[in-house]
Symmetry: D2
Subunit: 437 residues, 4 copies
């Protein structure tokens, strides 16, 4: 075990009364609900990028966070050192999963072949560490947004050589993800969008992106990768406007390209709010459309207009997000991926632990509350009662695919209904759910 | 001609030098561009609701704008008086089109049958006035959001009787629109959304909305209505969240319900910006997806978070919106519908004229500039050059539907491309287009 | 007791385990903390406008909420009926305070004199009811925004007759508030701003507003009114831009007019967020500037851009707002005014109770948690430690008003400090405060 | 002349008809308006930071823009090379002014003394170049936000050593600015704010900032610096919340510290909009409060929530911003500082020229239009007429400082005014000003 953190042994569950800041107060991994442990329900995933590559730079200032594995020197040796600390942290936190971009784990080489080789070398190390620790891979992905070659897009680049580069890079990242038993493969279109429509052929770029995605789906099947490809909606940042704007936009894109069976969405709270949706809206919509995949669990700042990726700590808000997932039976291949970073001023190694521990506790509380709400059923009964009129055969019939506008108009002419609005009981329900919090 | 406005004769084109505020300075209806008159290109449409039913109420104050046809009395007589002034205004402005909701033109009756009858009576009057003046109907629609029966939705209402009511109401509105030779039929989902997910079955409501739309499409075909149905995207307001959030969300909804051939979008500047898109983004996306229909031309306020529906006056901004439409060949069934209202403090009758005249002038300037930009081709050439690499056969091949990720990866392994980013020239292009402004 | 609500007796505290939706689960009015009861700490105030005059109209739809006292008929008789129900509700809720605008309680008359007389008649009734029930007046105010005469401003109106009208109206509202023992007098500048700078003389309007406020302060002293005048910051809505934008803008305005000793702020959560501040920011700033007065307790919707005035239900968020107030010793003349309204679809009489009860419970929990956090002192100790360097005399000296830049520069030249950043511990602290939640 | 740009000679005014992208089409520096040349009116200022230090990094990607003077090597030699190109660019553009932060022009040294010395060395070079070219310094400032020592604030830092450091750094930057004949000294509080209130003592930090500013004012007088200190309002970014939120907040801060005579504001379009104000609002407010200083001329993106600092190109929008300045007599010590950067994808050296030339042209057009509007006086007459009632002695008297609420109420009781609202004519005015565009 490295000397990076102040503790060397796994964080323990000590219960709500503990004063130990490096203990879980709510997350008891082994506690079972409905026959599954909390660990199995929540599928906590530590991400590599924010945890191990973030140096605190912002648009107005340079690095603040110093790491022994970041800086000049033999980059592969540093990458190995980083992997040691990473698996230490997974173990200390008791996180069953991790996730990564290819460039997070290994340095860019002089050529793509060299970069790919670097990734494979580290992946070998990962394989051994995964076996040793039992930590699994929730998903892998390719970073096609940081290097300047991607500045004008990855699959949507005006330069076909970049498109080709990305195809080769994604192939390798999918291969590696598959080798490591990854349960999903993620695509985040950070540069798939535009800065200005003046120099952009939007229709052509959408076609490029569509074909790229189809090829990725085909390749997944070819190599026998069972998990879904996940697209992560985001409206903007780094580009002014990204094509994968939100769940509804992504769904239209999947349908247009005929890949809605193989591709699902990885929804992030901070991305949802930047598109002016609530987190729970995006989740419910994805569930309704049959494309719900996984969550990036973090929070944005309601007063600012950019991605802050903070650790999620507000339990009542998370209950609203988890409740539809619980009702739908919980995660399948997805999980709770901590796409969250410590603040720029959080310089201490242990700050990484505080962020994760605090949010794991908050998630555990929220999941338990959501489970109780779902099991209790009071809320759901209220909703069902609101739509109960649709259970009558003559009403159900209106949606049967055969009844026409004219049929219904005739019925209305005959019956002369005068529908009276009923209270939506929103305050009652808000009060009701506060009982569970 | 009524005594409502200070002038009784059509507003004339007097050229940029005129000091007459009730003259056109740029909109010369008969001026031809590419064989079509400006009137034929722009297809200006005066809307009934903002022009003739708006009283200036806001969430913190009552009516400010007084109209002789609004108030107590015989509501049908007042509706006829309103129609007289409306057609006077269409004539004074020289607007070739108008648009309306059923409830704008005729009062709500005691029953739906009575309401429908009221609409039909006024529609008869319209038919005569249309013949007399040559004014045509761009589109009609049904108001399914103002009355309290719709507070929880129209087609998405938990109460099936409201769904039935709406089916009957839309049938009648489509019939009337068809009788009057309307060139499109519009649906605006003002209440198709939710205030709170706590009491909402989102999946069920989407299914209701989808079936409703399918029935409307079927009915359109049944009665031989040739124009498209238009859906108007809007993210929110009056509801907290509307399903028809933006063009991309609507497209997904159309695809899910198999109606993308028969339904297009009516895009509004102010709605685009409330969803954090630019107007031109929504237009370009709709064009790319093959669902561009028509425009609600107005503007929002960049400092506030709600729909202000102001008359559009900023020429450079409108050029960006019109340019892709001009390139695509202009409007077919759509047009420029003034979904714009005078300010709450604009109490004078002539203020209605000032708003329309000013915006018609601004639109005409913008359309002419966009036409010049498109004809000149400098901008388009620059864009084409940016993607020119895709013209090479070996690159085009990557999108041919047969080439696989592995094929491309093999090619990359062989060729070792090292793509170099090229300047996007955004400042050059922004400067370039300012030359046309 | 009227038959308006389903219950006729005061809502009881039944504890967290109760299933009774019309019982308090956390708000135990008589429970004492630090020698004061929760009722004395929280000073709950029911507002007249949202509770008794709101009909559910929104910019796209008419009234939904029906009240026996709203409609045609003898308006003074209806106002008396409204007062009966209002005091019933205060009693049922056990709210110690209420608040009102003049026009909430009595109808507009044909002249200002008649309007004022109507207000006085109802105030007489209030006086008796207050004596009978023990309910007190937190504050009164004048509605100078609903009537069309105020459309272009109240004190900032271009028409001096409106200014004069407002002076007379405010004088009367202050008199009535004083007669009823009101503990504060509030001014909300709903129309003190502009729709367009094109027709606005901003400097002149600010001068009008400044003089108006000075006169109000003088009048307060003249009549012996002891409480403060409160200004309620809000950035916009109903106007496009209001002068009382936020706490910092109001402070500048008070200083410019020399009234910062007599005027404080009434801060609202939803107004804070519309100006892109957190609620706690506005509270802390007001406390730091010495102008903290009272709170309008509600919540906005983070996904929409207008005032939703919903009942506040999120306990962790409220803890952050209450904590600085608790540390500062709690309210003096201010309190928790429920400037919150039921949703447009909440049609039942009891919905008014559900909203208030739920939020009173949430406030009580939050206040208790904030009190525990303050008493515990862990958080405050952490903050103090962060600034501890300033306790050294040589550092304190830098702020003594005599030391100059040159002095300090000399010291730096001599000592060559190389200050090292220290972790801000944000995640640790967020996790810490979740322990109290 | 360096070989950096494609042209070596000053950009010429060639008139609107030119097709030369490296010529001015509207900005004719010598053209006089009212006895002053356009150069004297507009006082164009090229900023050092965006022009010469920006490498295109964003939160999701590394540098894209490569400059010969950025990279490894002798940093002072590179700084000199940078200065050569900078003065070449000032000359090519014909910009009469430049502006800089200390760290833009010279590298950080091992100690503050060394850093200061580096600045002085480059300043010596500047002095010679300024004499040779005639280029002047609009303002200098100190960068107290990029280095990690400032991560928790500069003057508001919890660590008094940082406060001391900043005092010494500002003293030196003021000295250098004074030596170079700078006409203003600017303070931008990029880190003067907080990331979280949990670890912040807001009151204490405001006191630190206030005293710091007082010392800077005193020092200015001590060294005989005649120009104002300018504070640049900004609501957020890099911090979550900055104290210098907007013009109104800054004014309150100046009043609280008694420095409103010596400190003015430098207003930026993009900062105004991030605080949800229009640019012209902030300008008009500053003029009304007597603290208008200078402008950072750029534009933000209305669809995104962060600072984009793009070159301003929309003429009608700029007219609205310039109009109040023109009416107030134009700039005194301030000017139009191009705090604007080329896009991340604008890799070519000439892109720097395109951005500046395009915006200089747009500014020149806008200034001329604003001048015409002001000279014409039609708009101003309309505004004056709106407030004309205040010219009557009995109305003016209401603002005389002696008249009381009771006096006015008595007058109202006697006269029974019934003020009638008048149309605000907003559409007429919007249409009117479009005549000038």
């Amino acid at each position: 075990m490295s000397q990076f953190f102040s503790i060397k042994t796994p964080v323990k569950f000590e219960g709500a009364g503990t004063a130990n800041p490096l203990a879980f107060r709510h997350y008891d991994a082994k506690k079972t609900i409905g026959g599954k442990s909390l660990a199995e329900h929540l599928r906590f995933t530590v991400c590599y990028w924010h945890s191990f590559t973030w140096t605190g730079s912002d648009p107005f200032g340079g690095p603040t966070i110093e790491r022994p594995w970041i800086g000049a020197g033999d980059q592969m040796a540093l990458a190995k050192q980083k992997a040691d600390v990473a698996f230490d942290m997974f173990t200390v936190l008791g996180a069953p999963y991790f996730s990564f971009h290819d460039r997070d784990i290994a340095p860019e080489g002089a050529t793509l072949a060299e970069s790919n080789k670097n990734v494979s070398v580290i992946a070998e190390i990962f394989a051994k560490k995964m076996q040793a620790t039992g930590v699994k891979l929730l998903w892998g992905t390719a970073n096609m947004f940081s290097h300047r070659r991607f500045m004008a897009g990855a699959a949507t680049n005006p330069d076909p050589d970049v498109f080709a580069w990305c195809a080769a890079q994604v192939k390798h990242a999918m291969d590696v993800t598959h080798q490591l038993g990854g349960e999903n493969y993620v695509m985040w279109g950070g540069r798939e969008g535009y800065e200005s429509l003046l120099n952009t052929d939007l229709k052509r770029e959408l076609a490029q992106a569509g074909r790229f995605l189809q090829m990725a789906v085909d390749y997944k099947h070819k190599i026998g990768f069972k998990g879904p490809i996940l697209i992560e909606p985001k409206p903007q940042e780094p580009t002014k406007h990204q094509y994968d704007y939100d769940v509804g936009n992504v769904y239209g894109f999947l349908k247009a390209n005929g890949v809605e069976k193989d591709v699902k969405v990885n929804i992030e709270q901070n991305h949802a709010m930047l598109a002016k949706h609530s987190f729970e809206h995006e989740i419910e919509l994805a569930l309704a459309l049959g494309i719900f995949g996984s969550l990036d669990i973090n929070r944005g700042d309601n007063q600012v207009g950019w991605d802050t990726d903070q650790f999620a700590m507000n339990v009542p808000e998370m209950v609203l997000a988890f409740y539809p997932i619980v009702k739908a039976g919980g995660f399948t291949t997805g999980g709770l991926n901590f796409d969250a970073k410590i603040r720029r001023q959080s310089l201490d190694a242990d700050d990484l632990l505080h962020g994760h521990i605090g949010s794991m506790d908050a998630c555990a509380r929220a999941w338990e509350i959501a489970t109780t709400m779902a099991a209790d059923g009071t809320l759901e009964k209220h909703v069902a009662a609101r739509y109960a009129g649709w259970d009558k055969p003559e009403n159900k019939q209106m949606l049967d695919g055969k009844t026409t506008l004219a049929d219904i108009a005739a019925r209305v002419a005959k019956n002369e209904p005068n529908p009276q609005p009923r209270s939506c009981k929103q305050e009652y329900l808000e009060n009701l759910i506060n009982r569970y919090m």
